[in-house]
Symmetry: C2
Subunit: 152 residues, 2 copies
């Protein structure tokens, strides 16, 4: 990693720093376009679209090419550092949250809470017995309004 990037990285808020480290550990280079995407994702602090990432970066004149933004988001999803969220209307949002997390998403402002324990084991067992299917994955996302949007 170049000296420049080391300096920049030291200034990052902890989450982006950690994400960058995990990219490096996985054998990927921590480049400026990738760092920029991490910074944007951390700063947005919600369930974001690629377009929102791009806008955040454009406003700060540090936007990589759109292809690199998409590539970075995809890479981070593959590394399970980002997660793709299937929404009600658009199904093109992403969040910083690894592995098997579910989300509670404000449909008004995009604010997001993650949780792990979805308590679907009983349902899944019952359905497997009833249908003969083997279930090995699921999507669960909840939508509503966050406390702040409720008071406005």
């Amino acid at each position: 990693m170049s000296r420049l990037l080391k300096q920049q990285q030291a200034l990052l808020p902890a989450p982006a720093h950690e994400l960058a480290e995990q990219m490096a550990e996985a054998g990927y280079k921590v480049t400026q376009p990738r760092l920029a995407v991490l910074r944007a994702a951390v700063a947005l602090d919600k369930a974001f679209t690629v377009h929102e990432l791009e806008q955040w970066l454009l406003e700060r004149n540090e936007s990589p090419g759109i292809a690199s933004i998409f590539r970075t988001v995809k890479l981070l999803c593959d590394l399970e550092l980002f997660q793709r969220i299937h929404g009600l209307e658009d199904c093109h949002r992403y969040s910083i949250s690894g592995g098997h997390a579910h989300h509670l998403i404000c449909v008004s402002c995009g604010a997001l809470k993650s949780f792990d324990n979805c308590g679907l084991r009983d349902l899944i067992t019952t359905l497997e017995q009833q249908t003969g299917y083997h279930i090995n994955d699921h999507v669960l996302e909840l939508f509503g309004h966050c406390p702040r949007c409720l008071t406005v």
Copy 2:
């Protein structure tokens, strides 16, 4: 409705017939393009993409314009006769299932079982208390392998 369409409709398998009736009750005309989409959806008997609908229809030389296929699928989703299914990778599948159904989908062949009772009420109540969010919608889809694909 013309005599021709009445005759055709009488030959349809029951589900397409019922769907057509519900379209008519909602004030929409039961036209040949729309009937073709219904027939394709019933025949496919799984979670289908618009492309799969089009292929099925093209193979039988009765495909309406692609715009009409999309329009019909959208209309049927709005009428809650079809449902859009958010998949793991692609989120562009549809099924014949109204209202608040969830699905158990074979990732190998697309075979699909629907169910209503998702038993999320307790989880939702707990999360609302913990977070202050008001939850008013959710997406839940299960993925795995159907009995047939398990034996192959």
